[in-house]
Symmetry: C2
Subunit: 335 residues, 2 copies
């Protein structure tokens, strides 16, 4: 179950893709590739054929050499690592599964096996994808980004909310970078486009009372889902990037942007700059300043969502004038 | 891995032991037992022989019948359930392992398999017993009580401290009931006798940011350890009930008392009476009112341990007059 360390993954395919991507407009000659990789031109040719079988459209010209025309909409570990081009922590290793029950469950196992933080697990589809509070998350094959990230922060359990905030900001930025769309954050952990849910974050932790052992950031994005991929009861409340944009979105590019923003934000968090993240989060949060109804356990709280505190809790001014501090629940906007 | 439900464990042995224990001074006739259990007297006799092989000293008199003279110092599931005589939640099921890596790890697996709360796992010895913050816990065979309890409370992660407090109070009471000794609680999670550690509590949780999924209370008690069972470097700081009392302690009786107090306290917690538990805990806590030095991560805080807050955090008045709120760390008393 333990993934190979990232260093041993610098395979020939990875090196070829990296070299081709370094010349997005031009060509790279077979001789140049062969010399760069220290293998024969015939071996390069064999790998190119293999890559084409995986859906990479690589043109070959006897005069100019090879060029990457397009990459398949597949999540391939080596390709993702090549595009990522190195990060401090998040994405140091990536595992891709065709199908799994839940990527969070796999990362949980990796965590218990002692895998270092930053490992990312992706699945083309999940059979038991989970949302918050044990709810099911629809994860059809090939259409979404279902991933989980292992982190081992030095935080108390009550501070783990900071990682949900980090993830929401990183994901909003990645969606903006890749599509130009500006998602709104719905407290505590959803991303919305035009009021419909496009992504969700499930932060799970294993902790002692005083210290977090590890955190799993589960991130689900409805990337290229069609309306028919969504169960009828969700069609009025959920959407996908493709449904909003009208064209398909490159999942690999979205993932790479997400991991870069997560990595950068995690470093800032470690340096004590949580305030910056929280400020950006609050800017993007559409829940603040609105009248809300929050169901939490058996309680129902109505009032105006005034602000967020340091830990990411929502401060709601109730109809009776009290300020209630709410750490989680089901929010609906009211008039 | 999933334990059998407690109901199917009401075996013949269990019923015989229960009947014998119901008459601690007198005898129970074979005819009475046979009628009560709906089996033949010969079958009763066979089970009695079997129980004797397990170390139960059961005398048989042709006139009077059977009497339980003594029970072995073994942790036997059916016997423990018989002695427990039914609880609301804690101890509804008990599993005993001769040896395991760590009872907390087994309960973690049970929790993920959906086992209901209250399940208790015991081990005669642990090969990788853990203390707080990943430290090793010495758990030699047959001499201690190494157990873990699965709970699924409706609490936020920051409130999980309440269960450590519950466990410390329940354990202190059980030790008092069984031995007459009055242990002192050393914040956050140790029990001391004459300043030496006799028991420890390791509370682990799996949680979402807003809600605990499950908590594992790991409890380790040095019951009948000899000085030579302890590594030389621990002999001046650790002790056992037997070392303090001069005689061996019945581990089963201690466990039964512990589970009763845990069960009662957990019910009180669910009814919102945490304050009572916290008050008893503070009474038993020897850390309050003392000058302490606390190492937490890379920091060292010196001052007077003034009080505890609602969540069980320690409020320390530093030398500079500030009040610091500390949720965990290594405490040493200073002058």
């Amino acid at each position: 179950m333990t993934p190979r360390p990232a260093d041993s993954s610098t395979t020939t395919d990875l090196a070829i893709l990296r070299a081709l991507r370094a010349h997005p407009q031009g060509h790279v000659s077979g001789a140049e590739l062969a010399q760069q990789l220290g293998i024969t031109r015939a071996a390069i040719w064999n790998r190119i054929r293999e890559l084409r079988l995986h859906g990479y459209d690589i043109s070959a010209s006897p005069q100019l050499g090879y060029r990457l025309e397009s990459a398949p909409d597949l999540l391939l570990r080596d390709d993702l690592l090549a595009q990522l081009g190195g990060t401090r922590v998040v994405g140091r290793d990536i595992q891709v599964f065709q199908q799994t029950a839940s990527t969070n469950d796999i990362v949980e196992k990796l965590a218990r096996d002692g895998v270092r933080e930053g490992a990312v697990v992706l699945a083309e589809s999940q059979t038991r994808g989970r949302g918050r509070l044990g709810r099911k998350w629809v994860s059809p094959p090939g259409r979404g980004l279902w991933c989980s990230v292992l982190l081992r922060p030095r935080l108390a359990p009550s501070q783990a909310t900071r990682l949900t905030i980090l993830a929401a900001v990183a994901l909003a930025r990645a969606i903006r970078d890749t599509t130009g769309l500006e998602p709104e954050i719905k407290w505590p952990n959803d991303l919305l486009l035009r009021g419909r849910k496009v992504a969700g974050i499930l932060t799970e932790m294993h902790a002692e009372v005083e210290q977090v052992r590890h955190v799993i950031l589960g991130i689900g994005v409805n990337v290229n889902l069609e309306a028919t991929d969504l169960p009828p009861e969700l069609r009025s409340v959920a959407t996908s990037l493709k449904l909003e944009l009208g064209v398909a979105v490159d999942r690999a590019a979205l993932l790479v942007a997400l991991l870069h923003h997560l990595d950068e934000g995690y470093a800032r968090l470690g340096q004590g700059h949580f305030d910056e993240l929280a400020a950006e989060w609050a800017d993007r949060c559409g829940t603040l300043g609105r009248n809300v109804c929050i169901r939490t356990g058996s309680r129902e709280i109505r009032g105006c969502a005034e602000s967020l505190d340091d830990a990411g809790a929502l401060l709601v001014r109730t109809e009776h004038g009290h300020l209630e501090r709410i750490i989680g629940g089901e929010v609906t906007l009211t008039r």
